[in-house]
Structure formats: structure tokens, C-alpha cells
Amino acid sequence: MSTRALSARRPGTVDRVGSARLRVLSMLVVALILAGAVWSRLAYWQVAEHGRLTMQAQAQYREFVQLPALRGAIFDRNLTQLVVNTTVYSAFVSPDQIAPEDRDRVASGLASVLGVDRSKVLTTVQSSAKFAYIARRFAKAKADQLRALKLPGVGLQEETQRSYLPGIAPGTTLASNLLGFVDWNGDGKYGLEEHYQKILAGTNGYISSYRDLANREIVLGSHTHQDPVNGSDLVLSLDASVQYAAEQALAEGVKRDRAESGSVLVMDPSTGGIVAWADYPSYNANDFNHTDPALFKDNVLSYVYEPGSVMKVVTLSGAINAGAITPTTVINDPGYVKVGGYWIYDWDRRNHGNIDYTYVLAHSLNVGAMKAMLAEGHASFYNYLQAFGLTQPSGIDVAGENFIAPPSVAKMQDSQFATSSFGQGIDVNMVQMLAAINVVANGGKYAPPHAVERIGTQLNPLLLQPQRQVITPATAAKMTAMMEQVVQKGSGWTSRIRGFELDQAGKTGTSQIPVNGKYTQDVWSSFVGFLPSLHPRFTMIVVIRKPHYPGSDRDWTLNDGYMTAEPIWKQIAQAIVVNWHITPDRR
């Protein structure tokens, strides 16, 4: 438009042109705003919400399935399988997929096959729930029956379950306290199942594939796949036959002694491998969800107790090894002595006169043990407690070890040293105590206690380490001879096995149980021993808690180890002798 033309316009024309431009501009702005709103909304859905929407979409046609790793099996030393993985089934219903006219049939079918209450099932089926379990973990036979009924809205879910061997009674499983169990989430609980959880469980895999409209898997569609890594098998040092014999003898013994509980631990002297590990009362690992949780506690490892006179083996071994005494050193034992302001008595409170240390051990005299400790000195005594493994946890490869550390040597009082020398005022667990006594059976070497010999195809690294020399072989031989005298002439007489009378070593232990700082009349009774004494094939400890032996209300010494623990020890030892074809040493 030329300048002349513009100038020729009327005064109001410029305003109209400006107004039109303004309208165009404002429309553009509005359009831009609207477009911006749409674009920003699009950006919001496609950028900000991209991840969530993608997941929602994939959830409709893709499926992520976990491929569970097979849990490793557990075998005993003879490769008897102790645990088997079995498939069990859980039944569930989707009430919204069941037509009203089918509800009655579904409830009746489920009740008849699974043995559940029909009215409860009917209530569940009539509810507005999307999903509800009807029964958990039943056998395949029932699952097959249920499949055959073809009930609408009813599904079966496969699950893996650990099945353990039957024990001595219908309500128990073999070695349940050692093995532990696996809960419904696949996590090992207690015992070996917990300690070796990572090794046994392996690593789960997964597969991500497509599903069609009918929710059927399209296997050959594009998918990502990761194979599971199965768990490793464990081979134990346990002997299932010995374990069974131990559980049987222990159950009979605890019932006979009217005791609160009892435990047995058998060890291979040369390796420290656990041969049997029994608790009574025990539980059914196949039915752990209906078991009183108090029974899960393993008394072998988690129960600390005062070992009593069994400790004299440690005290005298240390004193002999330190050169402070010999088995024939003579002392005077008046039956009592005062230490640190406390009177300490022998169990019979009798004056024994001049006796040697072999007599002290055979007749389990507290005064003699204390004099041996004094002859050796506090520091040396404490060093031997450490060397025998009684001041630190045993470190055994089983979950749930309890341990109470004694005070340091500087903080221990004279009276505490005195009582510790005969096993009171010092707390240990059974594994610690047996490993300590096993030093004598193993020629003076400490064999680290362990339950697993092989992990997969690999030897347990513990077995490749050199064993610690605690006392000399000569000291061990002297102590063995002294422990033989316990069986032949002392408190170990009820453990004698025909044919092995000269070839058994042992020691009883009875200690009063403290409650609120005061000792009660309830006791822990124990017996530890090994045979054949010169070439031991096994070391075994039996502990009975709070026995009430018939007649013990008149004579409480009937609750002693020689009446309660020893007969159990003998019964198990006889079974091992027969099973392992052990013969006495030629003398």
C-alpha cells in the first residue's frame, strides 16, 4: 500500500486495521495457548507418565514369571538324603468369576476334596473378594482330584516344600533341631537351613513373555530369559542311623528321668564333624506352622549351662600340661576349703585324706580340682580355658549359637576361679564343652566343630586348616588314662559297655541351676566320654536338664549324671558300636 493511499484514508480506518490485527494476534495467542495446553498434556502423558503407562500396558500383555531355583538337598555321611524338595499345591478362588448358580457346586467340591468347612467356603465364594485361598500346601493327589472336577473360578498354585524324614515318633522329624526348616517364603529358619540359606537357596531366574487375550502364554513370542542357578547340596558328617539311635535313647531317658529336656551331641574326634545332634522334646519340621515356637529353640547350641564336674577334665589337663601336677601327685582333701570368703565343699562333704589326682577325677572332688587350679595359677588356668575354646563361641556352622563370655582374667574374683575349676559359675554351650573334651580324645589337638563336610563338590574349607595343638599328646594320654579310671573305678560305672570296660573314657557332671543368683536343688546332669579310649571313634556328651529321677525327692544325688545321663550315653554308644563295627583295643 502506498503512502498516498494510506494518507487518503479516513481517520477511523487506521483504528479498524489495528483492531483487526489485534484480533488476529489475540486469536493466535489463544490458539497457541490451546495448542500449548494440548502439547503440554501430550508431553505430560508421553514423557512424564511414560514409564508408568508403559508398565500398565505391559502388564496387560506381558508377563514376568520368576523361575525359582531348586533348593539344594542335604545328605548324611552315607549319602542318605535327609531333605527332599516336593511340590505341593494351594487352592484359591476368584469369587467374581463364579456365576451365582455355580457357587453351591464349587463350595461342595472344594469341601469334599480338601476337607474344609463347606459353609466357610460358601461364604468366601459369595463374597465380593477378587482372590482368596481355600487351603494351603496339600499333596498332589488332592490337586489331581480338584483338577478333575473342573470347578469354575478355582485355581491351583504350585509351591515347593521341604520334606524331612520321619523321626522317632509320628509327630517328629529326624534331626529337626540341627536341620531347621524352610518357611513358606523360602527362607531357612534355624539350624543348617538358616546358616546355609544363601548356598542352599541358589539364585532365582525369570522369564518375561507375552500373553494372549485368554491369558495364555505365547512361549515363542519375544521374551527375555534368565536361567535360575540351583542351590548347592550339603553333605553332612551326620550319620542318620546314629542320629535315630540318639533320638530314641534320649526320648526314653528324658521320660524315665522325668526331666524338663535333654540333648545329645556326638562328634568325630579326629575331624570335629558332628555325627548326631539330638534334642528332646523336638518338633515336626514338616508341620512347623502348627508347632509351638518354643520347640524350635535348639538346646544344644542356644542353651548355655554350667557344665559342672565335666570341667575338671579341662582344669586337670591344663594343670598337667603346665607341669603343675601329675596324675599321681598327692594332695590332702579334707572335703572342704575356704576361698575368697566362700566355703567350697566336695559333693559328699567327706574327708578324703591324702589322695592323688587320678582319684580326684574318678570321684569328682571339687577341692582337688580347685587345688590343681591354684597350683597352676590363675593366669595359666585362664589361658587354658581360652585354648580349650571356652572363652569364645565355638563358631560351628549352625545358626543360633548362644554364648556368655567369662570376665577377663583381671576382673575374675578368686571365688570365681575356684568355682570355674569344677564347672560352676562359668557358662558354656554343649558344642563348646564337647569340642573342649574332644581335645583329649584327639591327641591334644582342637578339632573345630562343624556339621557340613562338603558344600556341593567342595570340601568344607574348615577341614583343610591345621588343627590347634592345645595340650601335648603325652598330656592327652595321661588324661585319657585318668578318664578310664572314672569309668572303671569312679562315677562313670553306669556307662560301662560289655567288652569295652577297660577301653572307655568318660566323666560325669552335675551342676546346680542358679535362679536369681542362688543355686537351687534342680540340676543339669551330664556325661561326656569317648571310646575306644586309645583310638577313639566318637566323642559324645549327654546333658539332661532338671531331672527328677524316681526317688530323688529323698536322695537328690539320684539326679546326678551317673543315674540320668550315663545310661543314655551307654545306650547310644552301644548302637554306635554295633553300627560302626567297633572292636575293643587289644591290651
Binding site: 511340590t87 523321626g167 502364554e217 542311623s241
Partner: protein, 143 residues
Amino acid sequence: MQVAGAVAAERLRLNLFGHAYVAVGAIVIVVLFYLAIAAQITQYSYDITRLQDQQRQLVAEQDQLRYQEVTLHAPAQVQQQAAQSGMQRIVPSSYVQGTQVAIDLTAPVGASPTDMTPLWLRAVAIVVNTVVGTRDVQAATKH
């Protein structure tokens, strides 16, 4: 002749629609082929799924059987069966004394034991073997 040939060539030449028909036809064939393959693959997928389900059931059954087998060898089961058969374990009344034997695997083998056969018996054996012949001799003889 040249004119007739050109006419024939003109008739044979496809027009634009002809090309389009051919292209669409080819595409349809490819699509049908793809669909057939996809349907077949899907069918195979379902077969595999069914077989996998069957395999799972068989594995479950195998697990059950394995547990039954292991249980049969369990000490509790063995004792129960023994008791049902009227057997019971007795404690031996005596044991054979054992002798500890140390075998030194690094020791030299040593000389062979001396032949203690009397001379006259050896002479008789030579004569008999020569006349009658023994199986060993025959085996070593070339026929």
C-alpha cells in the same frame, strides 16, 4: 512385422493399475503367509505351554516318589518294618578284640616269598607237565 510386434508389446505392458494389483497381490500373499506362520507359531506356543504344564505335573509326581523312596530307607521306617517282621536288635554279649594294624604305604615291596615246594614235587611237576601238558603251557604254545 515391426508394427505388429510393437502392438503386442503394448498389449502386454501393464498399465498403472496393473502394477498396483500385482503389488497389492504380493503384499496380500506375504501378509497371509506371515499370518499363517504366526498362527502356527502361536499354536506351537500353546502346545509347549501344555507340555510344560504336563512336565511340571510329572516332576511333582517324581518328587513325591523320591520322598517315598527316601522315607523307605529312613531309620524310623526300617525299624518299624523290622519290628513288624518280628525282628529286634540285641546288644552283643561279647566283642572280638581288635588289633591296631599300621600299614606303611611308603615301605619298599621287598623280595617275593621263597617257594617252599619240595624239590621232588617240583621234579614230578616238570615231568607231568612235559608229558601231559598243562593248560598254561598249552595257552603259551603256538598251534
